[in-house]
């Protein structure tokens, strides 16, 4: 893991290089196509720039796209970045290093500052890293949870700024003020939260005086400023979100590619396992319910078959069929049950014994299924009452009727008993 800009040498005029070499441009063309070309636009072009869906017609502008100048500028920007990244990688490889992440330090500084110091609402933020030989600045606003506006580099660092009386400090301040003046007009009056870090943070008071920024700027030195950039780069690499990483596309480190592949494979595996578990549980649940139902049904069929004597009982009508069949069989079982019920002999013996004890003469006695009728006579009006009570004790509902009689005549009576 390395910063994109190693400690630079003192400024010397750079030799002109051709960035738009054919081997670079082939790759740039693919990258630009990936970022700027749209399959929807291509399809529209194939249809003559017109697409009608229902009552909506989409028209493609005749001159849709970038002009040559913009296209060239885009190509140049992509080529410059690519060429720069390749050069940096070549430098590292020459030293026997293969950086996993080639991080843009400005992005890393901004992200780390966001993580360590809360944003001031409605304020700009400048994260200023003063290294030994250069200064890097990340400028952003407090809106939308921290919006990075611009990244800047100044080829002046602590080595030169620390020399008392040298013009470096003045040049540094002029350059910074120039950058601040270039900020969006909307932010012109917003306060600025200025965060110092890097080895040159110890020079902050001198630099603040040189800036003469007034009350609008609130300066603060970040905790452990010397290791701040290292922390920022490490955290950025650990996050693995690719923000600010310049090793992209075919320049991506093999380990990162393998990690991505492993992550995707694990994601696919997790999805597969989750899907299989859900499907398995659902199917298993269904199978278990079906098994429970089949077991209950087979028991129903067995009991119903046993009770009806039929080989097959219509599905879902088992209880009805059994009740119907048993109703028929119950009639044929009844004689056996009746054989165990008390015989009418008991009633006959009881009635005869009661009549004898009450000194009642019986003329007729008849008993059928649920009724008992007695005709008789007695010499006293009340003598048949105990007989009626005896019949009630046997479970009969009794109706007693007596005929009026003279003093020397017998009282004739009828006792009717009925039983449910």
């Amino acid at each position: 893991m390395h910063a994109a800009a190693p400690e630079a040498a003192p400024p010397t005029p750079k030799a002109r290089v051709n960035l738009r070499r054919p081997e670079v441009m082939d790759l740039v063309a693919a990258e630009v196509a990936h970022h700027y070309r749209s399959s929807t636009v291509e399809k529209l072009r194939e249809r003559g720039g017109k697409l009608t869906i229902g009552n909506t017609t989409v028209l493609l502008a005749k001159e849709f796209g970038f002009c040559y100048g913009v296209e060239r500028a885009i190509d140049l920007a992509y080529a410059a970045r690519r060429s720069d990244v390749e050069t940096r990688l070549a430098q590292h490889r020459a030293l026997g290093l293969e950086p996993v992440v080639l991080q843009h330090e400005g992005c890393a500084l901004w992200q780390q500052a966001l993580a360590e110091i809360p944003l001031m609402p409605q304020a700009l933020r400048v994260v200023a890293y003063v290294g030994d030989a250069r200064t890097a600045m990340a400028v952003g606003s407090g809106q939308n949870g921290g919006e990075l506006i611009s990244l800047h580099g100044i080829r002046l660092g602590a080595d030169e700024l620390a020399v008392p009386g040298a013009p470096a400090t003045r040049q540094w301040a002029e350059r910074v003020n120039q950058l601040l003046r270039a900020l969006p007009a909307a932010a012109a009056n917003e306060p600025i939260q200025w965060l110092w870090c890097g080895a040159g943070a110890e020079l902050s008071s001198r630099l603040e005086s040189a800036l003469a920024a007034g009350e609008r700027v609130h300066f603060k030195t970040l905790a452990d400023p010397v290791t701040f950039l290292a922390r920022a780069l490490a955290q950025s690499a650990l996050r693995g979100d690719g923000a600010g990483n310049l090793r992209l596309g075919d320049l991506t480190h093999a380990m990162v590619l393998a990690y991505g592949e492993r992550t995707r494979r694990n994601a696919a595996l997790n999805l597969l396992v989750a899907g299989l578990v859900l499907a398995g549980l659902s199917l298993g649940w269904h199978a278990w319910l079906a098994r429970c139902e089949a077991r209950v049904q087979s028991e129903i069929v067995a009991v119903a078959g046993q009770l009806t004597g039929a080989a097959q009982v219509p599905y879902g009508q088992e209880v009805d069929q059994v009740q119907k069949a048993l109703k028929k069989q119950a009639v044929e079982l009844q004689p056996f049950l009746d054989a165990f019920r008390p015989s009418a002999t008991r009633d006959l013996a009881e009635v005869l014994a009661a009549a004898r004890s009450c000194r009642v003469t019986l003329d007729a006695l008849s008993h059928s299924d649920k009724s008992l009728i007695l005709h008789g006579a007695t010499d006293d009006w009340n003598r048949c009452d105990p007989l009626a009570a005896r019949l009630r004790a046997l479970g009969y509902t009794v109706e007693l009727s007596r005929e009026e009689a003279g003093a020397d005549e017998l009282v004739r009576f009828t006792l009717k008993g009925s039983r449910r």
């Binding site: 269904h286 049904q297 009770l307 059994v322 054989a339 007729a364």
Partner: protein
């Protein structure tokens, strides 16, 4: 559109499996209530049938003593009458029969006579003790006009017999 790579294919397949799993899980949840109600209804039916079977088997125990008898026909009433009510010739008439299980039937027999009441008890006890037993189901007694203790008797007895 570029063709999916092997890894993309597996990712799509896994996503499809997840969608399938979710669909199956949702279907299982949606039908859960109906499935449980159906099983509950069947369990209720089974419990009802088992109760019916228990009652039926308990009732069928009534058949066992008759099946265990060596004689499957009741003692003729004329024979019993001659033994316990000597000197009286009854008018014996077979009446209707009710069909019963396992080839049995309940036959009713009517006995008409004029006899002393004192002898009737012995006859009925002997009839009830016979195997298969005779059971008195109806009777009609009318006092004889001239002789005390004697009555015109109509008895209806029922006994089970193997057809």
């Amino acid at each position: 559109m570029s063709r999916p790579t092997g890894q993309q294919f597996w990712l799509y397949a896994a996503a499809l499996t997840l969608v399938l799993g979710l669909a199956l899980a949702l279907h299982a949840l949606a039908t859960l209530s109906t499935d449980l109600q159906r099983i509950e209804r069947k369990t209720g039916d089974l419990a009802k049938l088992q109760q019916i079977a228990t009652d039926w088997h308990a009732n069928q125990q009534a058949l066992q003593p008759f099946e265990a008898l060596s004689a499957k026909q009741p003692v003729p009433l004329a024979e019993l009458f001659a033994k316990y009510v000597p000197g009286v010739t009854p008018n014996i008439r077979q009446r209707e029969a009710r069909p019963a299980l396992a080839g049995w039937q309940a036959r009713r027999t009517e006995v008409k006579c004029e006899a002393p009441l004192a002898t009737l008890g012995q006859f009925l006890r002997a009839a009830a003790d016979a195997r298969p037993p005779w059971q008195l189901v109806e009777f009609d007694l009318t006092a004889a006009e001239r002789t005390a203790g004697v009555a015109r008797i109509t008895l209806v007895l029922e006994a089970l017999e193997k057809k």
